[in-house]
């Protein structure tokens, strides 16, 4: 049987030749993502801004009557809802701010949810109530802060690990690649206005772990080659390392993407955003392991010395003894 070979055996692509233009493009993309997050904002779910989210499915209709619903819910006098589809067009979430004074009297939020669902059920008999999430302002602030802490700690802990296992330049490179991947993913959420909730933070944390897998493979090979070819100029050595591991990088990313795509297309609708974030992150992570994580080592001036044990006094005597004719 002839085996499939996606990547030919001895590639010699000069990836690093285009490192500056790619870096410029990536930095621009990152800047664009940050601008988008700053101006357009993330579509924060109730987890982070507080409020109430009611999820319903219209079991008999192809699509939920979003415009009509918006009017009906607004008419109840609790303010204007944010209505959003998730998954199929007949599955929607209705998000409301918590009513005034509900931090003192929890009954207010309940009666709001009850009135809204009763009203929708009366008008649309095929509605199935799938869930109610209600988060107070205080709890949502805590959730936001813990999410921020978790992301920060994870990125630093992972970078520190790479630093310990390799060298500080590799730690910085890994951290930069991570920031790149997470920023672009956040940019996608700002662009598409998909809901940003606790699950997405879990996706970003997953990304911090998994998008580094490829980077580690490349770094591992760079370290190996640095020991092997001490005289080779760094750009050339990086190119060699990336080429040697190219098949690995592509096949591992592809195998992750195959399963993720199955989940994205066929999986539960409620976690679509979660899967989308991981999928995009893995995709971007593959690129960043080649174009972000590797070239930064040139600028941070990695040398073979970092990995060659320094010569002890005994070593020196032996070397001199050998060199003597």
């Amino acid at each position: 049987m002839k085996l499939l070979k996606l990547i030919p055996d001895h590639t010699n692509i000069h990836f690093l030749r285009w490192r500056v233009p790619f870096y410029v493009v990536s930095l621009l993309l990152m800047a664009a993502s940050i601008t988008l997050v700053a101006t357009r904002g993330l579509n924060m779910g109730v987890d982070f801004v507080g409020g109430q989210m009611i999820r319903v499915t219209f079991t008999q209709s192809a699509a939920a009557p979003v415009a009509a619903l918006r009017g009906e819910v607004t008419a109840l006098g609790y303010g204007e809802p944010i209505i959003q589809q998730f998954g199929k067009p007949n599955e929607i979430s209705i998000r409301m701010k918590l009513p005034e004074g509900s931090d003192k009297d929890a009954g207010l939020a309940d009666s709001m949810a009850k009135r809204i669902t009763a009203d929708i059920k009366a008008r649309h008999p095929d509605v199935r109530l799938d869930g109610v999430d209600s988060v107070s302002g205080k709890v949502s602030k805590e959730l936001g802060w813990t999410a921020f802490q978790a992301l920060g700690f994870a990125a630093l802990a992972v970078a520190a690990y790479i630093w310990i296992r390799f060298e500080w330049q590799f730690g910085v490179g890994a951290l930069f690649a991570l920031v790149h991947d997470v920023t672009l993913t956040l940019g996608m959420f700002a662009l598409t206005q998909m809901e940003f909730d606790l699950n997405i933070v879990a996706a970003l944390l997953t990304l911090i772990g998994y998008s580094l897998n490829d980077t580690i493979v490349v770094y591992d090979r760079i370290r190996e080659n640095l020991k092997k070819f001490r005289k080779m100029p760094l750009p050339e050595l990086l190119d060699l390392s990336v080429n040697e591991t190219l098949a690995r990088t592509i096949v591992t990313s592809l195998s992750m993407l195959i399963t993720l795509c199955a989940l994205l297309l066929l999986g539960p609708d409620v976690i679509f955003g979660f899967t989308a974030a991981i999928t995009l992150g893995i995709f971007v992570g593959t690129y960043s392991s080649i174009y972000m994580a590797a070239p930064i080592l040139i600028w941070l001036k990695v040398t073979p010395k970092s990995f060659v044990p320094t010569e002890t006094a005994i070593d020196k005597q032996e070397r001199l003894a050998r060199e003597r004719p």
Partner: protein, 535 residues
Amino acid sequence: MLDFPRWKQVFYWTIAGLAMLASLPSIASFSNLRWPSVLPRPEVNLGLDLAGGSHILLEADPSQVRRQRLEAMDEDVRQRLKQNAPDVRIGDISTKDGNVSFMVEDPGQIDKAREAVLPLTSGAQLTGKRDWDIQMLDGNRIVLTPTQAGIDQAITQAMDTATEVVRKRIDALGTREPTIIRQGADRIVVQVPGLKDPAALKSLLGQTAKLEFKLVDSTASQQDIAQGIAPPGSEIVPWAAGSSTSGAGAIAVKRLGGIKGDQLTNAQQTNDQRNNQPVVSITFDQAGGAKFAKLTTENVGKPFAIILDGKVISAPNINEPILGGSAQISGNFTTESANQLAISLRSGALPVDLKVVEERTVGPDLGADSIKKGMIAMMVGAIALMTFILVTYGRFGVYACVALVINMLMILGIMAVANTTLTLPGIAGFVLTIGAAVDANVLINERIREERHRGRRVVQAVEMGYKEASRAIFDANITNVIAAALMFFFGSGPVKGFAVVLVIGIMTSVFTAVTLTRMWVANWLRKARPADLAL
């Protein structure tokens, strides 16, 4: 590296076999098959987001505990002095400024007063500190200040009691397998699977059920009450909505001399024999019954107020002494609200108000839908991936695929034995783990390929492949575990479930994708002694 003695092979197969065996009950349950009841059945629990149910986070207000302690100390000080030092006259007792302070009219008696109140304070558990500080000011004033250790102890005790009360109330609803956990200093997490009406549960948990009987102060004029001015020794208490018979918004009651409704042995919803209105019948314990008998005997003909959570629900006249130790609480009740009050009274009052700060409820249909779709996605993903791996690596791909199937079963089995919970993101974690598990095989196989190209002989190439690839596999898995660990520590329920799947998946995948495949490859190399590898 390629040397696998028989005992090692048996050992590895035993581990894999046991873990896979443990997954069977869960698989049977997912596919709606009956599992023989004589066999042990470790099963993966489904999280609330899959099984449907409610997650409710309750929060207490610690300042309420502090206030209650001050008020209790106020009353204790008065009583203590009355009993143990009746000749000491005190005045100007106040609970403002977060402490209890009072003036001793004769400065010469201040030491005696101090001696008398000293037993009211005691050591705060294990901290070596007292729960109240006693100070003497200006020679005639005694100040009792609660210490932080004392406050912490009081809050802990209040929360312990509250948790117990919450458990009793939920049990009274007859729901299955509720989870009730203290969280932090002042919170309680309640998780109830498969609940039909979370609103009823919430109103039950939100009811403090502090019942008091206090004498009505008939000397207060309606105008004063309306302005909130109470006669000395009395306080103004508002009527509960819809309960006032006179139309007044509030009523004056005497602060002292009432009794609390916490000494009950039973409470039942019944109907009033006269007008068939729903009422709550209560039965006092012996001490409570005696107090109640004394109160009603001494005050025949006077009205007394029944106060629930700081609101008057009725104020009947005491027609005759009530000596039997049981009484009827009437009010503006429906059958449901009377029943709810009866449950609350039976389970005891909450020592502190609890309010719902977070609630997540998932309907059972959505969860079932998610499981079905998750299963389909997992199957399709796994088959597509296995096809890809087979056509890319041939024989080595077969090993990788068998390892993958064993891996999936092992994750499920370990989750079942460890009694972990599968959540919706956990399903995604499962699928993700499938994709990540073959990474190790890819790294190994590519490395073997590379070593062959460099001209190494078959056995050596395989040995080098496993050895050299292990480093990167190890490092990558460590970073994944770091991320998952942070997720576990910072995440909420569903996210924790995801982290658990990832960590278990990382461990099993190293075992199956590295250890097991190496064993199989070694066996094959020994038997077939191939001169070349199709890779």
